[in-house]
């Protein structure tokens, strides 16, 4: 593949040994800590993760092997001004996502005003017609969004993908930090780092704030998991534990008279807010997949009657659909009145004949994605693909162009990463978690940094050889009091 001059977040565009001035302390730490010591600490962290059971299952592998996601000991760092700019863009984007959802399940002004083609929303399987007209308590649909960002230069951040359904990964933000505090305490003395450990409190606050009206004095919140076979089960139990709320499965809930109850040894307890980590399809067999045994019959009716808040609301997939993604700049402008502060990655919609022609002519330079794919599956990375893979995608594109979008292969930024050959640059992306409650939007200063551990690789998905790093947000000035 061609050599791209990637921007290194610590060392800058030159990629030399010297760190950017604001990261001089980190640069020295990396230089002065022997690789063997970094390696020892990294293994200690991974051993702890394995013991905790922070594993994930690789989809598509016959034995669904449970693995831990590799952890990299060298952190990624954002300066306070960088974070402030990012936060502004994230708040704007998530406000727009919620306004969009409220509109498409309500008055559909954005269609009437011709901003997004009607069929792209209405004929999209992610739009759930049965829910049209239902407005969740406080009008908030996507309470928890994971916005995937990539970076190509000091000021150049792009949104790669919005996750507005049940985004996962926040437990890595918390566990990675805990490991770093334990294994590299000296780092946190070098510079003041914003804490992330109040995320569970912030999440709990968001959940409580969106309880149905009349139930707000002391709402009962629960976390609904598909069960311990789910690849993210560790995160479900971890979050429920940290918030001090019940972790329930569908069989623990019952709907009567359009009200949701939890079975407990003391009898039935009314449930007001359900943080559900179950996909829409499995929520309620009466409305979605009838063969589902994971769901709660009547749950959607309780939601539509306004008696329970589902976090996130069902039907939010229409906001993070990749076909809708390409319209996000217009959507942000439509609802917020200003240009998107965080731009999209340039995207060709293969459903448009001109775009399709361009994409077919440039397949070896582009990334092609299924609009309804996820986790790095159904994806062509042109520059690293074989001739055969490219020809397969060409045929698929010609057959069903509307199912694909294409993007340029970005020179994703790199961060120093511990490799077998010592510390070397590896490409990263970033997923901050944005909470939207009745009391506004909250972003805990941190997120999930995913790193492509293979040299030159741009695929950061955990299922395809990606790892994680801690993401440090520097504070403007030293924190008083300390924690």
């Amino acid at each position: 593949m061609g050599k791209r001059a990637a921007f290194d977040e610590i060392r800058g565009h030159e990629g030399g040994d010297a760190a950017r001035p604001e990261f001089a302390a980190l640069g020295s730490w990396i230089r002065d800590t022997p690789p063997a010591e970094l390696n020892r600490r990294q293994q200690a962290a991974e051993a702890a993760f394995r013991q905790l059971g922070i594993t994930f299952a690789v989809y598509g592998e016959a034995e669904a092997a449970e693995r831990i996601i590799p952890f990299d000991i060298v952190p990624r760092v954002f300066t306070a001004p960088e974070w402030a700019r990012l936060s502004e863009g994230l708040v704007q984007r998530v406000v727009a996502i919620n306004a969009f959802l409220d509109d498409v399940y309500g008055a559909r002004r954005i269609i009437a005003d011709g901003v997004v083609p009607p069929e792209l929303i209405l004929a999209n399987p992610q739009f759930r017609p049965v829910l049209a007209g239902a407005r969740p308590p406080h009008g908030i649909f996507a309470h928890i969004c994971g916005i995937d960002l990539v970076r190509t230069g000091p000021e150049e951040f792009f949104v790669l993908e919005d996750n507005a359904r049940t985004p996962s990964g926040v437990s890595y933000m918390l566990e990675n930090r805990e490991a770093m505090l334990r294994l590299c305490p000296e780092l946190f003395e070098l510079f003041p780092v914003a804490p992330v450990d109040d995320y569970p409190d912030a999440l709990h606050g968001t959940l409580r704030s969106v309880a149905p009206r009349g139930r707000s004095s002391n709402p009962v919140c629960v976390l609904l998991t598909p069960g311990h076979f789910n690849s993210a089960f560790y995160e479900h139990s971890f979050l429920a534990d940290s918030m001090g709320i019940e972790l329930v499965e569908a069989a623990d809930l019952v709907v009567d008279d359009d009200i949701v109850w939890m079975k407990t040894i003391e009898g039935l307890v009314r449930v007001d807010v359900i943080y559900r980590r179950l996909d829409d399809d499995y929520l309620d067999p009466l409305v979605f997949l009838p063969e589902s045994v994971l769901g709660v019959p009547g749950l959607v009716s309780a939601y539509m009657a306004g008696n329970v808040t589902l976090v996130n609301a069902p039907g939010t997939g229409i906001a993070d659909d990749k076909a809708i993604y390409s319209y996000m700049p217009e959507i942000v402008k439509y609802y917020t009145g200003s240009e998107a502060k965080l731009p999209n990655v340039e995207t060709w919609r293969c459903r448009e004949p001109d775009c399709l022609r361009y994409v077919l002519d440039n397949l070896s330079d582009l990334v092609v994605k299924l609009v309804d794919g996820s986790g790095g599956y159904g994806m062509l990375v042109g520059p690293t693909a074989t001739r055969h893979e490219i020809e397969c995608f060409r045929a698929a594109l010609v057959a069903e162009p509307h199912r694909y979008i294409a993007q340029p292969t970005l020179a994703l930024s790199t961060v120093p990463t511990l490799t077998e050959q010592g510390v070397a640059p590896r490409h990263v992306d970033f997923r901050p978690f944005v909470l939207s409650g009745a009391d506004g939007v909250t972003i805990v200063p941190g997120g999930l940094t995913r790193v492509a551990l293979r040299e030159g690789s741009l695929v950061v998905n955990s299922s395809q050889g990606g790892g994680t790093k801690d993401s440090l947000i520097l504070l403007d000035r030293p924190q008083r009091g300390g924690r």
Binding site: R108, P129, A132
Partner: protein
């Protein structure tokens, strides 16, 4: 015409159930050519009914029954005044625009042979309305109507390959083919008066399709009879396919098996 509808749905369980929860779409709305004079749902056991409305505009009711449940009997009795509108639907509660109804669903995905069926009328001259009529006639001719056949989640492709089906199957095939032609198409569940059989109990509620034709709007097409619904028809619920509009979607908590018995009688006397 004054139509009297009796529609009963009986479930019997081989073992008592802990709980039964059902979503009912049994109540028709009024629109031009269809005025609901009286409509009642009776449940034979101690149950709670919660009325609602879904995104398609259907009147729904949630039915909650505590165990032990040995059997559930739903009885619908209604009286409707109808007028022949030549199949045209006007004045109904339209919550979603026609473009919604061009998407395929698992039950209405077009197979190779359904695509071929659509192609048969696609090339023909004439208006969209002509093509819709021709498509209905083709489905009527190609598929044997077996009214009592139980709905078992069969999709349009399977039903068309088997060459026979109940009203839902025929409607699904017509919908799948119409969407291939770019015509928005939706599923309708309801009732029909068969004058020669109005004193008999039929084994199932009826179903047909509505196609959206530019300049006309939604028009009903009943492929089981090869005609557009007239004053013999009562529209009850709509959706993308049977799953959205079925009279009853049910779940039960408990073991054993269930036996479902449906009886429908539509007459001009009460």
């Amino acid at each position: 015409m004054r139509l009297f509808v009796h529609h009963r749905t009986d479930y019997r369980f081989s073992e008592p159930q802990d709980r039964v929860v059902q979503l009912l779409r049994l109540v028709p709305g009024s629109h031009i050519g269809q005025n609901v004079v009286d409509w009642r749902i009776d449940v034979d056991c101690n149950a709670r009914l919660r009325p609602g409305r879904d995104g398609f505009g259907n009147e729904t009711a949630m039915l909650y029954i505590d165990g032990p449940v040995h059997a559930v009997s739903l009885a619908v009795m209604g009286e409707v005044l109808t007028q022949d509108q030549a199949g045209m639907v006007a004045g109904a509660a339209e919550t979603l625009p026609p473009v919604l109804y061009i998407r395929a669903t698992p039950l209405t995905a077009a197979s190779e042979s359904i695509r071929a069926l659509a192609a048969e009328v696609e090339g023909a001259d004439g208006t969209a309305l002509d093509r819709a009529h021709r498509l209905m006639a083709l489905v009527h001719r190609r598929m044997r109507f077996v009214p009592g056949r139980r709905i078992d989640g069969r999709n349009a492709a399977t039903a068309y390959a088997e060459g026979e089906g109940n009203a839902a199957d025929l409607a699904h095939v017509l919908i799948a083919a119409a969407r291939r032609l770019g015509l928005p198409a939706r599923y309708v569940s309801g009732h029909v008066l068969r004058p020669a059989h109005q004193h008999e109990w039929h084994e199932a509620a009826h179903a047909w399709a509505e196609l959206h034709i530019a300049d006309f709007g939604w028009i009903g097409f009943d492929p089981t009879a090869d005609r557009c619904p007239d004053d013999h028809y009562v529209r009850v619920a709509i959706g993308l396919d049977h799953r959205d509009a079925a009279p009853v979607s049910g779940t039960r908590t408990g073991g054993g098996s269930e036996v479902l018995d449906v009886g429908v009688r539509v007459g001009i006397e009460g």
